[in-house]
C-alpha cells in the first residue's frame, strides 16, 4: 500500500496545478494519470507539428517545469478502477514498463492510501448518433488529434471538422499544422448564440487572440455556424468514407472528405466522483469555493465541476491543491469567479440544438458496444429499463459513450456507477493492493 497526504487523480492542467500547489505547501503528493506522461488531453505530448508550434506550448512547459521542481511524486500509466474503502483507491497498469506484476501475466495493481484526494479527471467528447457515425474514418475531434499526436498521418487528407465546442477550431488548426486539408469546420451553435459569447471574450483578451490565431490557421477553409452533419457517406463497395451531408436547417449539401472529425462538446468524467459518493448536481460534481466536494476530504477541479476549459482548470486546480494543504486561497477567488462566469457563457453558447436529437434513423446504432439501434431504445421508459431490456450501456464502455447520447436524445439520467470503473482482468479484483510501487519522479 502506498501512502500519501494528497493524491491527485488526473495529470491534465487541473491536476498538474493541484499537485504543484499542494507539494509547494509541504504536502506529500502523488499525481496519477493513465497516460504515460503529464498533460492530459489538451497538453498531450506527441509528434511535433511540422508547420509552426502548437499553441499553448509555453504555458505547458512552464507548468510541467514547476511540477518537476515541486517535489510531487508521479505515477503514470495507471488507471483508477476501484475505491474499495474510505481513503483508498486501486489502480492498474496494463501496459508499459510497469505492467508486469510479480505473477507473470498478471497486471500490476497498486493500492493508494490518501488523506486528501483531488479529482481532476477531465472530460470526454460527446457523440450523438447520426446515420454513418460509426463508419471507419469518422473520429471524435479530440480522438483524431490524439491519434495524430501519436503518429497517425493526416498529411494531404481532406478532413471535415464538425460538431460543437471550442475544440473544433483548435483541432482544425492542429490538423492543418500536421498537413491536413481541412475542407470546412461546421459548428452546430448558431451565430445568435455565438455573438454574445464572442462579445464576452473581450474580458478575456488571450482567448480572443487564440480564436483569431485558430481562425487564421484555418486559411481559406469555411467556418460554418449553425451547421451540422446529418449523415456520413461511404462508398458502397469499399465501405470507405466519401463525404458528409451537412445542413444549416434550410439547405443540405454534400461535402466530400476522407475523414470526418465530429464531436458535440464535452461530457465531464464524473464516474470516480460518483463511485466515491460525491454529490452530483446537474451532471457535474458539486464543489464549494475551495473546490471541496460533498465529501470533506475529496476535492475536484476542472471539467468535472463544469466545462470551463484551460483557464478554469488551472485556477481551480491551484485552489484545490492549496485548500487540501490547509492554505488560504483568497487571492485566487477573483479569478475563479471570472472563469466560472466564462464557463456559464460557454455552456449557453454551445448548447445542443434540438434538431440534433432527431438525426438517428431507426437502424442507426446508439450503443456501439452492444449494437443497439435507435428503434430499440425509443420505446423504453428510461435508462434502467433500456439497459435491462436492450443491454444498451452494458458493454465494455459501460455507457460512457451511449449514456451521454441517450441523455441528450431522451433526457435519461444515468444512474449508479459500479466498480470496476473500466474493464479490468478478473484477477485485479482478487489480488489487489499487494504490490509495492516505487515512486520515481519519472517525468
Amino acid at each position: 500500500m502506498t501512502q500519501c497526504d494528497v493524491l491527485v487523480v488526473g495529470a491534465g492542467p487541473a491536476g498538474i496545478a493541484a499537485a504543484t500547489a499542494a507539494a509547494i505547501s509541504g504536502r506529500r503528493v502523488l499525481l496519477l494519470d493513465e497516460n504515460p506522461a503529464p498533460g492530459g488531453q489538451i497538453w498531450r505530448v506527441g509528434q511535433p507539428m511540422p508547420k509552426g508550434q502548437a499553441e499553448g506550448q509555453t504555458a505547458k512547459n512552464q507548468a510541467i517545469a514547476r511540477l518537476c521542481a515541486c517535489g510531487a511524486s508521479c505515477l503514470f500509466g495507471y488507471s483508477v478502477y476501484d475505491a474499495p474503502s474510505a481513503g483508498e483507491l486501486r489502480a492498474i497498469c496494463e501496459s508499459g514498463e510497469a505492467a508486469a506484476g510479480p505473477v507473470p501475466g498478471d497486471p500490476h495493481i497498486v493500492g493508494l492510501r490518501y488523506e486528501k484526494l483531488i479529482l481532476a479527471t477531465g472530460a470526454r467528447e460527446r457523440f450523438l448518433p447520426f446515420p454513418g457515425w460509426t463508419l471507419p474514418g469518422v473520429f471524435g475531434p479530440g480522438g483524431l488529434q490524439a491519434l495524430v499526436k501519436g503518429g497517425f498521418n493526416v498529411a494531404g487528407q481532406r478532413i471535415v471538422v464538425a460538431g460543437s465546442g471550442p475544440l473544433l477550431l483548435a483541432v482544425a488548426a492542429h490538423l492543418r499544422g500536421y498537413g491536413a486539408n481541412v475542407v470546412c469546420v461546421a459548428e452546430q451553435a448558431p451565430l445568435a448564440k455565438m455573438l454574445p459569447f464572442a462579445a464576452s471574450l473581450w474580458s478575456h483578451p488571450a482567448r480572443i487572440l487564440q480564436g483569431i490565431q485558430y481562425r487564421a490557421a484555418l486559411g481559406t477553409a469555411p467556418f460554418h455556424l449553425g451547421c451540422w452533419p446529418v449523415a456520413a457517406l461511404a462508398d458502397e463497395v469499399s465501405g470507405k468514407l466519401t463525404g458528409v451531408r451537412l445542413t444549416n436547417g434550410k439547405r443540405t449539401w454534400t461535402q466530400h472528405c476522407d475523414l470526418l472529425a465530429c464531436g458535440f462538446h464535452l461530457v465531464p468524467n464524473i464516474e470516480l466522483a460518483s463511485l466515491l459518493g460525491c454529490a452530483i448536481q446537474d451532471g457535474f460534481v458539486k464543489v464549494d469555493h475551495q473546490q471541496r466536494t460533498s465529501l470533506a476530504h475529496v476535492y475536484c477541479a476542472g471539467e468535472p465541476t463544469g466545462i470551463g476549459g484551460l483557464g478554469a482548470a488551472l485556477v481551480q486546480g491551484e485552489i484545490a491543491g492549496l485548500a487540501s494543504a490547509g492554505k488560504p486561497t483568497d487571492s485566487l477567488q477573483g479569478r475563479r469567479l471570472a472563469e466560472r462566469k466564462f464557463a456559464l457563457k460557454l455552456e449557453a453558447a454551445f448548447r445542443i440544438r434540438p434538431e440534433l436529437r432527431s438525426l438517428a434513423r431507426p437502424d442507426t446504432l446508439v450503443c456501439r458496444c452492444e449494437d443497439i439501434p435507435y428503434a430499440a431504445l425509443e420505446k423504453r421508459s428510461g435508462w434502467i429499463d433500456a439497459k435491462l431490456q436492450t443491454r444498451c450501456g452494458m458493454g465494455p464502455c459501460q455507457g460512457r459513450i451511449c449514456g451521454a447520447a441517450t441523455e441528450t436524445l431522451f433526457g435519461w439520467k444515468q444512474t449508479s456507477v459500479r466498480p470496476p470503473l473500466m474493464p479490468v482482468p478478473v484477477s485485479a479484483l482478487v489480488y489487489p493492493g499487494l504490490q509495492p510501487v516505487s515512486l520515481k519522479e519519472h517525468l
Binding site: D82, P84, S85, G105, D106, S381, I384, D385, L388, Q389, M394, G395, P396, Q398, R418, P419, P420, P423, V424, P425, V426, S427, A428, L429, V430, P432
Partner: protein, 344 residues
C-alpha cells in the same frame, strides 16, 4: 419492471432437490420453460446449456451419486461424469477434480427479457400495465400508489421480491448476493457450472458464504458468482466477499483470472425460513385478521426465475379453483401461521 432481483440475478433454470417440494416445483417449472422454448423471443436468450454440478473430491462424489439417484427417481435426466468426462465437457476447469453430475435439461435465460415476454403476454390477454409509481398500501381490496392513484380489486397479488415494505410481517429476509460479468469470450464455457459445495453454501442458514457458480451467456459473456449474506442491506459491493467469491471461482477455473471483468453488482434474494416460496392466499400472515383479498407470490430466494412459470400456474389454479399438477400445500403462506392457530 423487473428491475429488482430479476435484473440482478443470473437466470439459471435449474432443478433443485434439497426438499421434495422444491424438487417438484423446480421440475414442474422447468418443464413449462421447455414448453415455452419455441415461443420465447431471441432477446430472452434461452439456452438449454445444462448444469454440471462439479465435485472437487471423493466426498463430493458421494453427493453426486446421491443426487443422481434422486434425479432418477423423479424422472429428471442426469448423467454422472468421470474426471475425464468432466474435463472433456469443460476443458477450462482445473485438473484433479473428482467428477460431476450433468443435468442436461437445465438452462439459462436473460431474466429481464423473460419478464418482458411474460408482461407482453399478460397485456395481450387484456391486462393493463401501470408503471412509474410504487404501491404504498395494499389491504382489503384496495391498493394505493405513491402518485395518489387508488385501485380496487377482489384479489390483490403481491409479488414484492425482496422489498417487503408493503407487508413487513412476511417471513422474508433479504439475502445479498454479488455477481461479476465478463466481456465476450465465445466458447470459453459451455455449461452452467456449480460446485457441489454450493448446496452447503446456499443452505447454511446464517453465515456469509461463497460458491463457484459460472454461467455462459449467449453473447459469449460469463456471469461469475456467487455469494450469500444475510443482514446486509447495503447495495454497495463488498470488497472482502467479492475477493472470496472470485478466489473461489479461480480455484476451479484459473483461466477466468485473465478475462476482462466489466461490472460487479449486488442484488437481494428474498429468503424464507424453510427455503420454499410463499404461493397462495396471505391469510393471517399479514395481520391479526385474515385479509381474503391479499395473495402472495414471494420468497423465491435464488430460484425466482426458475420457479416463475410454475408459481404462476399454482396461483392461477388456486384463484380459479382448479386442480394443480403438483401439490400446492407446501407453498401455502399460512404454513407460517398454522402453529399459532393451533394454540389460539
Amino acid at each position: 419492471m423487473a428491475s429488482g432481483a430479476t435484473a440482478a440475478g443470473m437466470g439459471h433454470l435449474v432443478v433443485m432437490d434439497d426438499s421434495p417440494a422444491q424438487l417438484a416445483l423446480t421440475q414442474y417449472s422447468r418443464s413449462i420453460w421447455r414448453e415455452l422454448m419455441a415461443q420465447l423471443p431471441a432477446s430472452v436468450e434461452y439456452q438449454a446449456c445444462g448444469t454440471i454440478w462439479v465435485a472437487a473430491d471423493e466426498e463430493e462424489m458421494v453427493e453426486v451419486y446421491a443426487k443422481s439417484r434422486i434425479c432418477a427417481s423423479a424422472g429428471v435426466q442426469a448423467e454422472v461424469l468421470s474426471p475425464a468426462q468432466l474435463a472433456n465437457a469443460e476443458p477450462r476447469l482445473r485438473d484433479g477434480l473428482a467428477g460431476g453430475l450433468l443435468v442436461p435439461d437445465d438452462g439459462v435465460v436473460y431474466p429481464p427479457a423473460a419478464a418482458g415476454f411474460f408482461l407482453q403476454q399478460a397485456v395481450q390477454a387484456g391486462a393493463e400495465f401501470l408503471q412509474g409509481s410504487d404501491a404504498v398500501f395494499a389491504s382489503q381490496g384496495l391498493v394505493r400508489l405513491a402518485n395518489g392513484t387508488t385501485l380496487t380489486a377482489d384479489r390483490i397479488l403481491l409479488s414484492p421480491g425482496a422489498d417487503c415494505s408493503l407487508l413487513p410481517g412476511l417471513p422474508i429476509r433479504r439475502r445479498k448476493g454479488h455477481l461479476l460479468i465478463t466481456d465476450r469470450y465465445p466458447g470459453f464455457l459451455r455449461h452452467q457450472l456449480v460446485e457441489l459445495g454450493y448446496l452447503k453454501s446456499a443452505h447454511s442458514t446464517e453465515a456469509d458464504s461463497v460458491a463457484f457458480n459460472v454461467q455462459p451467456r449467449r453473447t459469449g459473456q460469463m456471469l461469475i458468482g456467487s455469494s450469500r449474506q444475510f443482514d446486509n442491506n447495503d447495495a454497495a459491493t463488498d470488497e472482502k466477499i467479492v475477493r472470496q467469491m472470485l478466489q473461489r471461482a479461480l480455484a476451479y477455473m484459473p483461466g477466468l483470472g485473465q478475462l476482462s471483468g466489466l461490472r460487479l453488482w449486488t442484488g437481494f434474494r428474498a429468503a424464507t425460513p424453510d427455503k420454499l416460496p410463499l404461493i397462495g392466499p396471505a391469510g393471517r400472515l399479514t395481520g391479526e385478521v385474515a385479509d381474503p383479498s391479499l395473495w402472495l407470490a414471494a420468497g423465491f430466494e435464488g430460484l425466482g426465475i426458475t420457479n416463475a412459470p410454475g408459481a404462476a400456474r399454482l396461483m392461477a389454479d388456486q384463484l380459479l379453483g382448479r386442480i394443480s399438477m403438483i401439490d400446492p400445500e407446501p407453498f401455502l403462506p399460512n404454513r407460517f401461521v398454522a402453529q399459532e392457530t393451533v394454540y389460539v
